[in-house]
Symmetry: C2
C-alpha cells in the first residue's frame, strides 16, 4: 500500500498543479482515474488527504499554518471511513 | 443525509476553528466522534471535503484561490470512495 502511495505522489502533484493553474477537465478526469486506482489498491481516504497535504506543501512552501492545521483536521475527519474500509477488506479476505 | 450535513456545518466549523487556534486533543477527539456520526449517517467522503471547504471559506474569507481549487481537486479524488460506499449501502438495504 505504501508503495502505491509513494509512486503516486508525483503524479498526483502534477495533476493538482495543472488543475490549480487551468481548472481543466483533463486534470479532473485524471484525478477521477487516480481515485479509482487508489480504491482498487485499498488506499485509505486519510492517506489521500495526507498525500494532498504533502503535494500542497511542495507546490506552495509558503502555505499558511492555518491551512496546514485545517488539513490535519480533515485527515482526522476521514479516519472512521478508513477503519470501515479496512473492516470490509478484511471480511472480503476471509471470504475468499 | 443533506439535513445531517447542514446541521453539522456549524459544529464542524467551531471544532475546526478551535483546532486551528490551539491544536488541542479535545478538538481532535470531537472530530473523531463527528467522523463516526457522519459514517453512521451515510455521509459520503466528498461531502465531508465539501463541508470542510465551506467551513474554511467562512473562517477565512481571504483564502487563496489556489487552496480553494486544490480542495475541489481533493473532493474529486474522493468520489470513487463515495460511489463504493453507496454500493455497499445499497447491498445492505437489499439484504435486510
Amino acid at each position: 500500500m505504501g508503495e502505491v502511495i509513494n509512486s503516486s505522489i508525483e503524479g498526483y502533484k502534477d495533476l493538482l498543479k495543472s488543475f490549480i493553474e487551468t481548472q481543466d477537465e483533463r486534470s479532473l478526469y485524471g484525478v477521477e482515474m487516480m481515485s479509482k486506482s487508489f480504491l482498487k489498491n485499498n488506499i485509505l481516504p486519510e492517506e489521500i488527504v495526507d498525500m494532498h497535504i504533502q503535494a500542497l506543501e511542495e507546490l506552495y512552501p509558503e502555505l499558511s499554518q492555518e491551512v496546514k492545521h485545517s488539513m490535519n483536521f480533515l485527515l482526522e475527519a476521514m479516519i472512521s471511513y478508513g477503519i470501515k474500509q479496512q473492516e470490509i477488506q478484511s471480511l472480503k479476505e476471509k471470504q475468499f
